[in-house]
Amino acid sequence: MTNRLLDGPPLDFGAEPYAQHRRRLGPLPSAAGLLEALESSGLRGRGGAGFPVAAKWLSIAERAGGPAVVIANGSEGEPLSHKDRLLMSTRPHLVLDGALLAAAALRADRVFIVVAEDLARAPAVMAAALAERPEAEQEALRLVVAPARYVAGESSAIVNLVESGTAVPTYVPPRPHVKGVGRAPTLVQNVESLAQVALLARRPASFPALLATLHAAGSGPVVRELEPSTLLGQALEGVGGSLSQTRAVLLGGYFGTWIDGSEAWELPLDPRALRELGHSFGCGVVAALPVGACGVCETSRVLRYLAEESSAQCGPCFYGLRALAGACERVSANQAEPGELQRLQRWAQEVRGRGACRHPDGASGFLLSALRVFGSDFAGHRTHGRGGLG
């Protein structure tokens, strides 16, 4: 059996009201045995890094001392991802249930629901959902609206936002799960991860499904809930894609990796299997680049975006990502300097691990995959091709 987050009323009805949610799934279950259930489910975070949920909870549960803090991360800063806003706009009570269960399991007395301001109806729906909950729950719950910036969703930036109103990353250590909001151990967990917890607490023997944002070549984003055995090609065919129209696939969003189309088509969309093959499902973005599109131009565009989204606190990130974007743009404008590609490789390696947060690491992994998959475009760039990511 699979636990499906989007079961229930049709999605175009909007948010499932609290009364209906309770009729369908029953009241908030107890958190007893939840950690064990999370451990045996192998659930991993859906915000991008894919860290095991149980391990993060254990490190907080095993502490001595005062109450912890729980933060539901509904920032969804990744431009190609739409699954978190869809989830929050249609199943807000699954997210709240998951956050409250985390609070019960980890002895937290405050729960912050952080939602980015630009996510369509999500901030308003979450605010309305909070107001529907019993008074005792409302006392612990707070909604925090985050600015629409890429790095605002990084975990130390989220803690910083809740504490001081500034959504930029801070130097860690201490990491949030050791000392976060008000120096309390703080769980920062993606909203889809928490919604999965809400279902696992009710049906611990079932497998979590996966929310993915699918971009077939030349069409806009469609969010689908997938069985973990679905092949990537099947998923894209389900939204009108075809291998013959797909040159390459960007898996995992702007922090993800490019994969050649025919290789990508056969990949199982199963986080564990992908990890074993050296790929990452990341935040669940599967985006096709059309045949005829230019890998250099698309890569330049994304790198320029990531460079501009740097919070400009760390030299290697601020200068490094700008330099990387500039070099890609020179290649794309047929103005590459001698040794440009070797230098691009070296810079991409050198920025890794040299920011306070992993923003440069994400950009570097993205670029290195582009150099592998679009090697011939980079080596002999002539024309710009047609089309791009959705």
Partner: protein, 71 residues
Amino acid sequence: MSEELELAVDRTRCDGSRLCAELLPERIRLDDWGYPIFEPGAIPAHLLPHARRAVAACPLLALRLRRPGED
């Protein structure tokens, strides 16, 4: 008593003064923008005094020594 130590930097503080790389060139080089790149791993004992001097010289107090694996 000898203790294994490595260098760690707060990247949000470091503004590329370059002093650390001058005092410990065996372990620190600069990238193309003047920010330090550290040789990974523990500092050999004979370089520890130089490493301590580099830490003390950082005008922004961005650099420190920590036990390997420590946060």
